[in-house]
Symmetry: C3
Subunit: 139 residues, 3 copies
């Protein structure tokens, strides 16, 4: 068994921007000498989260709406601590969680047909983001 640690990076618009990172993960996997194993995918930072969804425009908007409803954008003590306005971003990220682990077989991620790995940027501004990916497996 072998371990390959890497990082994927991309730009986001923030405000519950949902980014499909499946193609980047598959591209990394295709270049490795691993056939069967798993990949740990972990958000670096406390205002972004990793999960899966069917990546289609209607559902992406639904995700934005549901988080605005569940954890609205104002009224948090965190905002007074730092004088910023992203308390809701932190809370949403902690609720969804920072990491998932996806297995692969014959060099293919095991996901449902309509299931993509997504990073959700809950922060309040556009930025460059990094996600840790670590592939573990055997040839």
């Amino acid at each position: 068994m072998a371990i390959y640690s890497d990082t994927i990076s991309f730009s986001t618009q923030g405000n519950t921007d949902v980014i499909d990172i499946t193609p980047q993960i598959e591209a990394k996997l295709s270049k490795l000498a691993l056939r069967d194993g798993f990949v740990v995918i972990h958000a670096l930072g406390s205002t972004g989260a990793v999960t899966t969804c069917e990546y289609e425009p209607g559902l992406v908007r639904d995700l934005e709406d549901i988080f605005d409803r569940l954890i609205p954008a104002d009224g948090y003590e965190h905002n007074e601590t730092w004088g910023d306005a992203n308390g809701h971003s932190h809370l949403r990220a902690s609720l969804v969680g920072p990491s998932i682990t996806v297995t692969f077989k014959n060099k293919k991620l095991r996901l449902g047909t309509w299931q993509q790995v997504v990073f959700i940027d809950f922060d309040t501004h556009a930025r460059q983001r990094e996600v840790a990916v670590q592939f573990v497996g055997e040839q």
Copy 2:
């Protein structure tokens, strides 16, 4: 160290049907030549999720109720995209998350006494479901 990839399958009724998949995972583990390690458990599909809970009938009904309250069953753009009615199923699944990782020691899953691994089917109809399980460890 060795890796064993497998699938468990079972039927569900949908509509936040909570299925205790711990016995199936333990049965797979008992047949493997692994003593210490971990198992990645990953829902295949974007309307189901994996988590843990105390699997007792009252709490199973409470889970149904709380998701109906937090993410009600209508009013999503996804439903207009596809002409179906499971936008809420997708949102609930993304919120809970598709995967967990549980360690094992001496061939026993390390869980609390009242803690079971569950698959929650948030989709709107009965169906056959598959969950990827991958055992990694050493003898």
Copy 3:
């Protein structure tokens, strides 16, 4: 590659007590002969959860508030099953999830600058808690 299974333990006050367990995990990692790999962190018990957040007092209070709002502390069937009062504790824990996996490189956890690994005790009383940690990697 090698696997080291361990447990961290600590006392909590319950009622959405958020505990920063990063220092304990880093202390364990520093003593192991592992350079690159990952650590699985898994709550033992069904009323606690593991996630990440920026660990600062304002946000810790915001986490308490948001869970009180999303999943209030009364009105669950679980409470009638057992005659206790922690149905909300179970529901919150299942929603957040029991486990995360964090990678490490050169013996350092790969986390954002303002990102800590936290255990949240959603139960209703003070107690001693245990979290399973399993380090997997290579020298």
